[in-house]
Symmetry: C2
Subunit: 150 residues, 2 copies
Amino acid sequence: MADYQKILVAVDLSSESDVVLKKAQLIAGDDADLHLVYVQEPMDNIYVGIVPQSAAFSGLGGLEAQLRDELKKKLAALGEKFGVPSDHLHILNGSPAHEIHRFAKENDIQLIVIGTHGQKGLQLLLGSTANSVLHGAVCDVLSVRIRASK
Amino acid sequence: MADYQKILVAVDLSSESDVVLKKAQLIAGDDADLHLVYVQEPMDNIYVGIVPQSAAFSGLGGLEAQLRDELKKKLAALGEKFGVPSDHLHILNGSPAHEIHRFAKENDIQLIVIGTHGQKGLQLLLGSTANSVLHGAVCDVLSVRIRASK
């Protein structure tokens, strides 16, 4: 059986991304392809259920574009820190689990690496991102436990 | 960051266990400790919600003991095939996720490897074993995707 050669690392660009990325590099074969993926969820996806009529939505386009620039810079810095080439850095738009699955399928990814806080109970029903990614993934998934103290 | 040194491989003793075990060996460091764990769920746990008054329960003790002997033999054969020493083979009793978590905590396990069929929808709500193991785990979890064709 071959080593994992094509690996998607889902990052949230918080300081926890370092932990997740280190684990991914640990597992990756010497000549493995590591892709860093950040999924930007459209703001109206997040807030429309809470404040569906908010006038603030009209200003979202500009805000999101600005945010996207900042996210790109953060992702570039992370890529540089871990030696991931810039064409392996991806900012996607949409629902995180859906976009991660789509990217994995389209790029023949063999392993998805993602951080998890080990939610249970109500959060399990509501579905954390790690949980949503696990279900429906067409490849292996490594869930890296993020400890609260980190 | 150190390699994974203490790994728990949750096996169901079906032919799929080979796939899961191969992936675990792929990731394990050269001198890593691999523990194979099979959790035997008490039959009355499984059926008591369906046929709570069944007279069949009185005969369960003997059946379970017999089953346990057969499971032990299967686990021993799997251990031999993959070069896992006999003191690293464990048959536990109880709820799979709970027993796997308990074993992981008590033995300072760094990585749990488990097979998954990538259930979604209703099965996600009902909770597959891989899903239950992910939630509440104190260590990393590698979910190995089992393909239907295997």
